[in-house]
């Protein structure tokens, strides 16, 4: 069963649209935020209940889009764009600096569960490359020498 709060919020989202299934993306985003930034099976069931669709349908949507996570992720998400414009101005060195500082490879989470490091496709900041997105906030440009300070600040956050 959904928590009463998210169930109510999803009912509101449904009314934004002529057809309520359009709310599935917002509903999954909401559920993901409530479940520690990922979508465990019970989160998919909650969304399914609230929208009157099947959990399998919710899974089919969640698995299609890059911003839904079907496996646990760290408390913080560090995403480094490695597409052409960023690559041309040193994105690899930025990604390497994060991997070195965190002791993980791209796609992995630190042992303490604090930070997930990901490479991502073009984030739309090509004019201020290299672009790094930390917990949905753009840092542009970010240089390898900025990495230790950024991580220190991140780990100091609640």
């Amino acid at each position: 069963m959904s928590t009463p709060q998210s169930f109510e919020q999803i009912q509101e989202l449904r009314h934004k649209y002529p057809q309520s299934r359009s709310a599935v993306m917002d509903a999954l985003r909401l559920a993901q935020a409530e479940h520690g930034s990922w979508l465990p099976p019970e989160a998919l069931r909650e969304v399914a209940d609230a929208l009157e669709v099947t959990p399998a349908y919710c899974h089919s949507i969640a698995s299609f889009y890059d911003m839904y996570h079907l496996e646990p992720v760290g408390k913080h998400m560090v995403e480094v764009c490695t597409n052409l414009s960023c690559a041309l101005v040193g994105a690899q060195a930025v990604l390497d600096a994060f991997a070195h500082e965190l002791g993980v490879r791209p796609g992995e989470t630190t042992d303490d569960g604090e930070v997930t490091l990901r490479a991502i496709e073009c984030a739309g900041g090509c004019g201020r490359a290299p672009v790094v997105v930390v917990d949905h906030v753009y840092h542009e440009p970010l240089r390898p020498e900025d990495v230790p300070g950024l991580l220190e600040e991140l780990r100091g956050r609640e």
């Binding site: 934004k16 649209y17 002529p18 057809q19 299934r21 359009s22 709310a23 599935v24 993306m25 917002d26 999954l28 985003r29 089919s60 949507i61 299609f64 889009y65 890059d66 911003m67 839904y68 490695t82 597409n83 052409l84 414009s85 690559a87 041309l88 101005v89 994105a91 690899q92 990604l95 791209p106 796609g107 990901r118 490479a119 991502i120 496709e121 073009c122 984030a123 739309g124 900041g125 090509c126 004019g127 201020r128 490359a129 997105v133 949905h136 906030v137 753009y138």
Partner: protein, 441 residues
């Protein structure tokens, strides 16, 4: 307005914080809406048609002609959908509209809604643009409170990370709550679009130009740019230029002017090697081709596409096989999987390019690249299947010697010194890397 450097989309952004309703009104904001609402809807669309406003999202289709295709008397609502799912590699112009001039977009939506007799607008904003979504939400709330919406509903919809949703029918699918996979056409969206109803779909930067067309009038607007494509475009310059960024210039400005005069030339005094004029999906141009004017028809005559005016500049330190590989890894990641030529072809291209870059390539691999490209081009439901071909086919055609050097020298001629050496692609994060391709004997 500076006659030599007219600004339309970015007008007033230097002096004002145009995210604020009062400041937008101080530069004449929402006056065009009032003007338009005093006109018959058809008169508004006639003005847009007379201005030959061509789509700034990629295809360059005239907005007025698109609207003329909307089915009438269907008994269904007519929807206006704004494509703010900007995700073309190299493109970042719409993001600035959303975060710097949100009211210009909202005003453009309201004028267009009046013109096509629509009471329902959806703005599909890419999921990563969280800050931009918030700016738009606040601006929309201010416009609503000020009573500017006039009975029109504007819904802001957030994407969740899928390049394919920038394709208009995939966007509609996504908006309906489905996986973002393109639809077969016909029927086209003006007849059967969102929820099966007639739907007008336009790019953010196209719609944000509409208030200026009403304000200036089509005749005045048409004095800017070139006859086949009047007005300005925001050119997004990135890669190896000295001053990357967004610059608004008249259509028809040459690539040379944009790269050297506007963006300060090649960074670090390097040599220009290649220009991708419209985002990673369009064929590459060589330094010999940069006197081409950046407008839809001129750039197409030069063998490429205007695309989203995202100009990616590449200097002489970059290996073109690596660049093709990195571009193709993107298309393989973003292919929605619906059409076999695109789903399988992108994987083949990645495998063959990896083999070349690793020094395991043979001469027959270049023929194989051409064959795979040929079997993909025009054979999928949407343009992604073609976009995946253009980088590989055009780099191979124009920089063939470099591809051959990888084969003859059994490895990358840059010897680890290419500017994008070792670049990591998100597909490599997946648990199961693709097996190595084997060329047919």
């Amino acid at each position: 307005m500076d006659a030599n450097n007219p600004t339309l989309l970015t007008a007033g952004t230097q002096e004002h914080d145009l995210t604020r309703l009062d400041e937008y009104r101080a530069v004449g904001g929402y006056e065009a809406l009032e003007q338009a609402r005093a006109l018959e809807p058809q008169a508004v669309m006639d003005e847009i048609s007379a201005a030959t406003l061509r789509g700034r999202g990629g295809a360059g289709f005239p907005m007025g002609r698109k609207a003329s295709l909307l089915a009438k008397d269907t008994g269904k609502p007519t929807y206006l959908v704004i494509n703010a799912d900007e995700s073309e590699p190299g493109a970042f112009k719409d993001r600035d509209v959303l975060r710097m001039t949100p009211h210009r977009l909202i005003e453009g939506c309201l004028i267009t809604a009046h013109g096509i007799r629509s009471a329902s607008v959806f703005i599909y904003i890419r999921g990563e643009y969280a800050h931009e979504f918030d700016v738009m939400s606040d601006a929309l709330e201010d416009a609503r409170t000020a009573g500017l919406l006039g009975g029109v509903t504007i819904v802001l919809h957030r994407g969740a990370g899928a390049y394919i949703c920038g394709e208009e029918t995939a966007l509609l699918e996504s908006l309906e709550g489905n996986r973002g996979q393109p639809r077969p056409r016909p029927p086209f969206p003006p007849v059967n679009g969102l929820y099966g109803a007639p739907t007008q779909i336009n790019n953010v930067s196209t719609i944000a130009l509409v208030p200026k067309i009403i304000e200036l009038g089509a005749a005045e607007f048409s004095k800017i740019g070139v006859p086949s494509a009047p007005g300005t475009a925001v050119f997004s310059l990135s890669g190896n230029v000295a001053q990357p960024g967004n610059y608004e210039r008249p259509l028809g400005t040459t690539l040379r002017e944009l790269i050297y005069d506007v963006a300060g030339g090649i960074a670090g005094g390097r040599e220009l090697k290649a220009v991708i004029p419209g985002g990673s999906s369009v064929p590459v141009l060589t330094p010999a081709e940069i006197d081409t004017p950046m407008d839809y028809d001129s750039i197409q005559a030069a063998g490429s596409f205007f695309g989203s005016a995202a100009i990616v500049v590449v200097d002489d330190r970059c290996c073109m096989v690596q660049l093709a590989l990195r571009a193709e890894q993107f298309y393989m990641h973003e292919s929605c999987g619906k059409c076999t030529p695109c789903r399988v072809g992108t994987r083949w291209l990645v495998q063959i390019l990896s083999k070349l870059e690793d020094g395991r390539g043979e001469r027959t691999d270049l023929d194989l690249l051409d064959q795979v490209c040929d079997r993909m081009l025009g054979k999928s439901l949407c343009a992604l299947g073609d976009f995946a071909v253009y980088p590989v086919a055009s780099y191979l055609e124009k920089y063939r010697a470099e591809f051959e050097a990888h084969i003859d020298g059994h490895g990358c001629p840059f010897g680890g010194e290419s500017s994008i050496e070792g670049i990591f692609a998100p597909i490599d994060q997946h648990a199961h890397p693709p097996p190595v391709a084997q060329a047919h004997a």
